[in-house]
Amino acid sequence: MLEDLFSVVKVRFNGDKTEDDKKKTDIPKGLLFKCPRCRSVTFMEEFTKAGKVCPECNYHSRLPAKERLEITVDKGSFEEFDAQMISKNPIDFPGYNKKQLEMREKTGLKDAVLTGRAKIRGEDCIIIVMDSNFMMASMGSVVGEKITRAIEFATENRLPVVAFTASGGARMQEGIVALMQMAKTSGAVAKHNEAGLLYITVMTDPTTGGVTASFASLGDIIIAEPKVLIGFAGRRVIEGTIKQKLPDDFQSAEFMLENGFLDMIVERKSMRRVLSNLLKLHRLSGKEAAANE
């Protein structure tokens, strides 16, 4: 199932390059943004000013977890959980320790997710933010454990959870242990759900594989950013199976909405407001709200 989880992302971003395209990307890095969805080119400054959204097609590009937190939660409200947690090498996969060291150095992150408690326009919640810069936010022991602990904390303290998902899927280098994180995180969601608490997932680019097939798809309310990639199997695998090319919008947020797997698509600039409104709507039970009237 998870075949080519990484290539699903890579193909969309590099795979269809023509010789012409390759020449174009020789422009110094950081000066221009080339949209992976519509392939239009924008000055980086303009793209950044637009909140890292393609001004041509409205593709909402990836954000580092720290930037996501900055634009989402109230200033100074984020208290991080388990900031020091790092993964071991459960199946003694050759090169995995070294790979992790390099990624930590490069990204300043310990692994692919930040979790903690925060407020969104005053609404108290547990927040989970994945970061695709760290091994394509694949889920191994640390991602699984941090997310599970955050949701368990929410259940114990009767708090809602907001999870920004992004992932290439299960982390291959941790083998079966990575697969089990799907059960672990989903188990925590099951208990949070049983306690009658709100869980909102926001699917961001790219949400695929084992993360789509576990906690990302289990929200009471599932939101996505426009034009992001959401799917289960890798595009190349599906194309290999059906022996034909898939349309460009296959596995997009819009495709998922049309097929009934999303509640809404929300633009980045409105996300904070929408989330806080949804949190507030669920904080007030019918009885209390009527009493306040």
């Binding site: 075949e3 290539s7 993964s87 640390v142 299960a170 083998g175 059960a183 188990g187 789509t212 199997a233």
Partner: protein, 268 residues
């Protein structure tokens, strides 16, 4: 002690004479009735469900089905379920809960099906929902891997109170072929992948994912399906005895903790 390498076991579980769940059902269960459909969209031939008696105990059986020939494989899509299959499984697990029947799952799939319709019908959502709901189903669940336990497609029937594996079966985060394709961009290095992925029953006992190894007939299950079925039957008897005597709270807590404790990390 099984001395075969992961790669040699892969050959055994792909042996064309390897018994499938359809061979085992008549040897394990009495008065078995197959039940069809997810009540939402369709009936997936890759997942078989039904009810019957196991040594006099009413049980629900949910299984991934491999074909024994091309015709059967067409009907069961080479044991690669669509979302409809997982939703049928969930419907039958809930029915088992309602009637207080234990659930016996048989896992044997290279993985969930990858295709346009599978994506349109929410393959990810279907698997996620099964994983979450099986965690809370209030009746014992025993899962047994017969051959290939491929990825989320296997885990969708693998959230259970006890997981057992036939001695030559494998359980992996992705098929060895997919693994080679992702990490080395070369699916033909499948055999090499096999031997570093830690996917044998012994590996999985060490990694605390598998609870029990069921012996196969000498040289592999295909050499004596009857004997292998007897070993499976013996295991199910013991597992049910262990699980049926537990209170539901204890059962569900232990199920949660079985998965809760998997993961290797340090905290600086």
């Amino acid at each position: 002690m099984n001395e075969l390498t992961a790669c040699q076991r892969l050959d055994l579980i792909r042996h064309k004479e390897r018994p499938t769940v359809r061979d085992y059902i008549p040897l394990l269960f009495d008065h078995f009735y197959e039940l069809h459909g997810d009540r939402l969209f369709g009936d997936d031939g890759a997942i078989l469900g039904g009810i019957g008696y196991f040594k006099g105990i009413p049980v629900t059986v949910i299984a991934e089905v491999k074909g024994r020939n091309l015709e059967e494989n067409k009907a069961c899509n080479f044991a690669m379920p669509h979302p409809e299959g997982y939703r049928k499984a969930l419907r039958l697990a809930r029915q088992a809960e309602k009637f207080h029947r234990p659930v016996i799952c048989f896992i044997d799939t290279p993985g969930a099906f990858c295709g346009i319709d599978a994506e349109q019908h929410g393959q990810g959502e279907a698997i996620a929902k099964n994983i979450m709901e099986f965690m809370m189903i209030k009746t014992p669940i025993i899962s047994i891997i017969l051959g290939e336990g491929g990825s989320g497609g296997a885990l969708a029937l693998g959230v259970c109170d006890e997981l057992a594996m036939l001695e030559n079966s494998i359980y992996s985060v992705i098929s060895p072929r997919g693994f080679a394709s992702i990490l080395w961009k070369d699916p033909s290095r499948e055999r090499e992948a096999c031997d570093i992925m830690k996917i044998t029953a012994e590996d999985l006992v060490r990694l605390k994912v598998c609870d029990h190894i069921i012996a196969e007939a000498e040289g592999g299950a295909h050499n004596d399906a009857q004997l292998t079925a007897e070993n499976i039957s013996e295991y199910i008897s013991q597992a049910l005895e262990r699980k049926l005597q537990k209170g539901l709270d204890e059962l569900l807590n232990q199920r949660y903790n079985k998965f809760r404790t998997v993961g290797e990390f340090s905290e600086g």
